[in-house]
């Protein structure tokens, strides 16, 4: 799967699961500041990622993820 395809899936999850406006979701967008996702929201997104992509994400790997792009790259590396 190409990075761009992963981004599209991630964007859909943000829009569907968390009700975030589609236009706000860019690779550069910061999860907490720009998208206003709280810590529980991040957990929800991670659980949705795990279901969607059939992978497991460790808490350690998440520590450095602050933007949509970093999340996309992490997922891309695991698929």
């Amino acid at each position: 799967m190409e990075v761009n395809d992963v981004f599209e899936k991630v964007k859909n999850l943000f829009v569907d699961e968390l009700g975030i406006e589609e236009s706000k979701v860019s690779m550069e967008a910061k999860l907490e500041e720009d998208l206003e996702i709280d810590s529980l929201g991040i957990v929800e997104v991670v659980m949705a990622f795990e279901d969607e992509f059939g992978i497991e994400i460790d808490d350690d790997e998440l520590a450095d993820v602050k933007t949509v792009g970093e999340a996309v790259n992490l997922l891309h590396s695991k698929i």
Partner: protein
Amino acid sequence: MKTALVTGGSRGIGSATCKALSTNHKVVIGYSNSKEEAKKLEESINSNGGNAMSVKIDISDKNSINIAFEEIEESYGIVEVLVNNAGITKDNILPRMKDSEWDDVIQTNLTGSYLITQRAIKNMMKNKWGRIIFISSVVGISGNQGQSNYAASKAGLIGLAKSVSKEMGARNITSNVIAPGYIETDMTSFLSEENKEIIIEQLSIKRIGKPEDIANVVAFLCKEESEYITGQVIAVDGGMTT
């Protein structure tokens, strides 16, 4: 109609809770060993116009929980109300207690409640609504001779419930504890008449509790209107702890 799962639902407090919830919930009777009682209760609720199914769950086993939840979700959709009622006792005074007695009681009563709550809560989060009720015990608050393992497991539920209430409040999931006093069930049937009299003497309400006394409070906490009550321990004990 929302779906409510009651663990240990076939007998005692669990059975009364299933009946009380059946007026406005789809009820899942979780049982481990009492299949016959569970089926009887299921039939009784269904023949009275309710919706009930019974499912075997060994709450101390993650695999058993997953299998049970898949069966529930297929028939009734996601579990929106979870009543953590299943529990066991293996009484002994501490100097005589075997490791296995300690481990079994902690594994079922505390770890089992953790495992099943974790399984249920993921869908509650997605659904942005949930009610979790832990049936603890007054002995989790005040301790009891011969029950250090049981009291520790029941006290543990209070810490678990309060933590869950803080984590999940933003998702409209409430988490509360009911601490029953002496309730007339199989679990307390070993008490002699004489000992019952001694217990009643210490109560404000001069009778042993009925399973329905607990079930009514569970039903109240499950209501939509109870959404502002969370992280609480409600003793339903005839005034034993005041």
